[in-house]
Subunit: 338 residues, 2 copies
DNA sequence: ATCGTGATTGCATCCGCATGCAAAGCCCCT
DNA sequence: AGGGGCTTTGCATGCGGATGCAATCACGAT
């Protein structure tokens, strides 16, 4: 028997005031005499009253809950994101309702649920949102921000001006790819290779594009290319085996790079960085471990999280500008694999 | 302007029936003629109607939301737990509302929030719940299950019979510690050491107890002991440096063991397993990586998650037996560090 | 044709809080 | 003393569904 939680009415009766006053005492900016509010808040504290958020959500048509849909949590980059995100969201007065979608699946599957829960907004990370899903969701005024992802069709001409795009916060992957090429080249590497992750992710594609463009800009031949198909240690390990020719490998992210590093060292007998330089992307905790000392491009997660929350706030406050695509710079972290 | 979601009333009017019927059509077991229900469900699908869970929660006094409070997500064991837990919870019709508490802090801090959201139940993992917090929460009929943790005072005499204890699901850490000792001994190791993690966690303590008891039972001297103070790679790395004497080290969990392994190999020049055997606990993905090949005691996470959800279901169905403490066996996974 | 019974509906209310609107209360000025 | 304008309060109602209870209905039995 869930303890008969005390309600605003109970408190009101106890104080001999109306329920409205109790409600107002808890709504910042409502019209209440200072002493009245103080009196109410005090008794509330004494009697252990706390507004029922469910009821408030129903009445106010705003839940203060934001959905987070995550694809795989197996890439260590995401737990860190999740941790920071829940923290920041909480500080901003939101609670995250967590949805996970099977890796490789689109976030769309979670949309119906999200609607049912009437979340105020949704942040999608480690998964993508189809253009149709986005249109559907944004279509009736809800907001969404893609984290570490780019909206499907973001680069396309405004031909599809009719379909709204979600906001997105990510780091500048193209510039990152560019920096990766420069770093490898600066080390004298010339037989470069790129290892792609999941082919349908903007992260992998943009990083590759930046990498290729940098080489092209220098008049150098395009890099070798391996398709891991997936952002996993195993996939990185597997495809590295095919990269005997390369003397400089840029992996689409750290987890792939770690797998590759182990393959190079333990299976292929190649020394890193003597024989081959390796670069990752993200800067997950393991990259710094002595067993790896992976050089990588660090994503500014704290800043990305802060932007995400700011964006959410602005949207919920009614801002309706065109979709924003925030891009933060990645930073090269040089360790021992370069 | 959040699209004027269609309500049960809208649908009802559209079909010329009462709102109650719509509601009933969506409540399994309610009294509705089969054809009526079919008709309603169909139009619902066509018009895109889905019951507003917030409203339902208010009315039914049950939210179908369960809170998950997590301490640190930095130990890779927990993201995996979280992923499986959200999946299983979802399959059982619950949605997880995620709370994170700063590492080292008790889950109590999240309790007020959890009450406000009127979650049906809470599962606490990677954090502990103080006896007072538990009493407070359970006191008024709510339920809680500790995951990979033991209730504070669970072993104590029923002197505190008045204070209810939360349910708990964990693996049999004592038996695991026992198995660890046996495995090390079987390898001929005699100068054993135990590396403790956070001192206030049941996991670290129980594993240590099992380890010591096993040695004692054989009439062997107690193990050396190092206090990492924390379940982290860095802590494991640091304390391993003090374990020159040991030829067999049992770390309270994998993440500590990985740090220790790197210290032993890269800083101390010791060969594993030639000079020293290392054992961890959990079996996180990294334990299997070629760079480590850590032998460990695997926690049966899928089974633990299943039990957790079953327990939750039973509790919400009204079961009020004494607190349950489910213990599942850990399994020794022998890789190359033994 | 009449009555009893179980299956279906509709009605009215309630869940706990938010909020527009009108009633009251106050302070200050003429 | 009378009136204007602003601040506090209380009232009534709404949010979207769930549900106890009474009203209907359909049918088979007598």
């Amino acid at each position: 028997m869930p303890g008969p939680a005390i309600t605003a009415r109970d408190l009101a009766r106890h104080l001999g005031v109306s329920q409205s006053m109790v409600s107002r005492a808890f709504s910042p900016g409502a019209s209440v005499a200072p002493e009245m509010r103080a009196r109410i808040l005090q008794s509330a504290a004494e009697m252990g009253y706390r507004p029922n958020i469910i009821a408030a959500a129903l009445s106010r048509r705003r839940s203060s809950i934001v959905g987070i849909v995550m694809g795989e949590l197996s890439n260590p980059f995401y737990p860190a994101v999740l941790e920071q995100l829940t923290g920041a969201l909480g500080a901003a007065g939101f609670q995250p309702l967590l949805f996970t979608v099977p890796p490789g699946q689109e976030a769309d599957a979670a949309l119906p649920m999200l609607r049912q829960y009437h979340v105020d907004a949704v942040v999608v990370t480690a998964a993508s949102l189809s253009a149709a899903g986005a249109a559907d969701w944004l279509g009736d005024g809800r907001s969404a921000v893609l984290f570490n992802r780019t909206a499907a069709g973001e680069a396309e001409p405004q031909a599809i001006a009719g379909t709204p795009l979600p906001d997105s916060v990510a780091c500048d992957n193209v510039a990152g790819g560019h920096a990766a090429a420069e770093a490898l080249l600066a080390r004298g590497r010339r037989r470069l290779a790129f290892v792609a992750g999941r082919p349908d992710t903007s992260t992998s594609r943009e990083r590759e594009r930046g990498f290729r463009e940098a080489l092209q800009a220098r008049g150098l031949p395009p890099p070798l290319r391996a398709d891991a198909g997936d952002f996993s240690y195993e996939a990185g390990h597997r495809v590295a085996l095919d990269l005997r020719e390369a003397d400089g490998i840029f992996f689409a992210n750290d987890i792939l790079a770690l797998g590759g590093l182990d393959a190079l060292r333990h299976e292929m007998g190649r020394r890193v960085p003597e024989d081959v330089s390796v670069l990752g992307f993200d800067d997950i905790p393991m990259a710094a471990w002595p067993a790896y000392r992976l050089s990588t491009l660090r994503q500014p997660v704290p800043a990305m999280v802060a932007r995400t929350v700011d964006l959410l706030r602005a949207r919920l406050a009614g801002e309706t500008d065109g979709p924003r695509a925030e891009r933060l710079p990645a930073e090269l972290v040089e360790r021992a694999s370069l």
